[in-house]
Amino acid sequence: MANMVNLKIDGKEIKAPEGTNLIDAAELGGIHIPNLCYLKGLKGIGACRLCLVEIEGMKAPMIACTTRVKEGMVVNTKTEKVQEVRKFVIDLILSMHPLDCMTCTKAGACSLQNYAYDFEIKESSFTRKKFGFSIDEANPFIKRDPDYCVLCGRCVRVCKDQGTNVLEFMGRGVGSKVATAADKPLHESECTFCGSCVDVCPVNALLEADRWRKGREWDYDKVNSVCLLCGNGCDITVSTKDGQIMKINAGAAEGSPERYICAYGRFGFDCIEADNRVTAPMKRVNGELKETTWKDAIETIANALKKAGQNAGFITTAGILNEDALTLKKFASDAVKTKNVDTTASLYGDADTLISGSADLDSADLFVLVDLNPSQWKRVLPAIDAVIRRRVNAGAKLIVINSSEPKIASVATVNLIENEAEALMSLTKALLDKGLPGDKKLASDVSSATVSEAVDKAATLYMEAKNPVILSSPAMYQAAANISLLKGVTVSVPVESNAKGVVMMGLTTEGKSYKEMASGGLNLLYAIGEVPLNKRPNVDFLVVQTSHLTELAKQADIVLPSAAYLEIDGTVVDYLGRLKHVCKAVEPAGDAKSHREIFADIAKAMGTEIKEAKESETKKFTEVKVKASVAPFARKEGFDVKVDEMIESINASVINGSRLLWLKEAAVCA
């Protein structure tokens, strides 16, 4: 914990950590200092001059966003002098801002509106200025209306900070605007439609494209949840109105580098109401899928499962929640009495390679990226890409170890573009040579490695770093973890959101593996979620339990409607090993039920009573200690998946069922 500093703001005693600026310090004491251009987590730029405060002992007012707290400081945020300046600035901005608060979507959540209210400005006392800029609404995600822009520059800075770097100011002062390169519309720029700019815009200049007449901030019920579409498992805030999702925003704490979600997470929610949603159980009658009742479907499955017995198998995605996974485990072993349960996590990892340590990315000052290719542009683990770029902009270092050159290598301090196992080995040797204490076995393992100049530089960086974090693909995890035996932590990054969770719940290959089951030969195959399978394997009976009518579901004998993401409560374990709560935002569509409820119902029909797993039950499974031991420097065999293809495949119905399809059709992002 940093040293605490005592200061007085508006007569209130406040304790703030050393190095905090006055805006954040005041926030700790519940005092809001007006600002438009300040962005928590980034350095203040002092452009809007709204945060002027008077500090005792100083002649002129100071800007709070760039002033750090000092012991014994006495700050007044509401003196007559600074209030007048604030009123003056708001008045000026208001003179060039449309005054249509009565129909403006941002009403209630608009900083300008709030400040105008605070300073009692009915209308601007200055000359009205109108610019008539063209509106950019050619894409289905983000609408840009420069007429509303207050030129605070938050969007420009957030875009630069996360490395997308699309927005920039055009011109200066009155009449300037925020534009892309050559003032092209967003879809012709490098924009990834992550919508970070929408989150930070204080007014109506940047908004979700479909928000018109869909309710305003005060109409919404808000739920904090987790996005389940890829291995990042980002925090999201879901806004709903009348049982419908209206928008999703990034949910991580303000100022945290993890406050980022990609276009999938922000705009993929349309798929919940897609045409191909399964809302009732379906059964194959005379070669065609017909809707049926839950009772009939469950009885049919119960009988089929009884008949198949040992020869039944369950495959599931690793995107299901911990509670579902644990119930499935009990269901398979207690009711069906089979060991054939496996998840798609087995395609890229197992218990040894997936369960890893945890890391604090906020304080990490060195990232080592092993065999990972995160990309915001391809939406492959985009949040990792954004976090690393943000941290690098804040002064952290990056070492990339990869046999091919990933896009993020352009911001790396050291690139080791060679065989990962060999690079890790020589890096370990270099670290041992530099005097890090390690065990004898490790030293003898790496004795044959050669240390190149680049590796030596990387080792020097690693030695200097206070909190080095190694992010690795599961296949390389054990090799990479050898380094964290010396120093730092290694985190294995899975492809799916709850891969760590399902493995902790015990869904690892015990009987037949996922690959074996997916290639056929079972009497009964029970597929859960959107498994990356398009063709029915050679099985006698196929049950597909899914939220959308996938290609596989169309070939099934029975399709059971399950609740989609955002429709269920539960927990997941994200890539950093944190237990996260997934909260239900809307009711399941039609007759859809959660996975765990369906398993319990079928078990009951089979004559075995199993209980749906509860959060208290799953929690103890997630408290796993990571064993640290020396492992061979080699890629673990059998875990070769193409991460980008897999992410697209497991999210096929999300992408095809929502406006994200436009991205594919327009193919705007290379």
Partner: protein, 198 residues
């Protein structure tokens, strides 16, 4: 990039001081500042100086009221207080330096004593002095002068007149008139002022 070198605030100040009318001084300074050294990084200066220019233009055109002077003072005071750097503060100081002069009040009444605010002035031919020589007729590029060049020993010619709708107040006619028959007058007062070349 082969852009013209940006003007410095000191140069702008020097050039502005050369003007006689104090409103024109401030207007020139603010206009040049906006198109030149203004960086646009802080709101009070970027937005404030633009608004100040709008108000100064109104004053120079005689469309202003007392309220404009109050607003202008308010802008300058706040810019001086809140601008990020010296450039903004200097602009505010320059506006304040001349804001107190009588000329501002006179402009609101519709007079520009220094004869630099063209919107407040018009050109007029004094009939008694006009010899109908036709020099101004040739000099006027906008065909704003009505009249016929006098031929010797013939009668029936009328003194020239200036059509205000066409006149751009360039002052070319004044320079060529041999008898100083063209004068600048205040629109409001319609009284003849001392003649000055513009």
């Amino acid at each position: 990039m082969t852009e013209a070198k940006e003007k410095k605030t000191e140069d702008i100040k020097k050039e502005a001081e050369e003007k006689n009318c104090t409103v024109q001084k401030a207007l020139y300074y603010v206009s040049e500042f906006l198109s030149g050294p203004m960086c646009g990084r802080c709101f009070p200066c970027a937005l404030g100086s633009y608004e100040a220019k709008v108000r100064l233009q109104r004053i120079a055109e005689g469309k202003a009221a007392d309220a404009d002077l109050i607003v202008l003072r308010n802008i300058a005071d706040n810019m001086l207080e809140a601008s990020m750097c010296k450039k903004g503060k200097d602009t505010a100081r320059f506006i304040l330096e001349w804001l107190g002069t009588d000329a501002y009040k006179e402009h609101i009444e519709g007079k520009c004593i220094a004869h630099e605010c063209m919107a407040l002035l018009e050109f007029k031919v004094i009939p008694e002095k006009c010899v109908m020589c036709g020099l101004c007729l040739d000099a006027c590029r906008y065909s704003a002068i009505i009249g016929e060049k006098k031929k010797r020993f013939q009668l029936g010619y009328l003194p020239y007149e200036i059509r205000m709708a066409r006149c751009v107040k360039c002052g070319d006619c004044v320079k060529v008139c041999p008898t100083e028959a063209i004068v600048i007058v205040d629109i409001k007062e319609k009284t003849v002022q001392t003649v000055q070349t513009v």
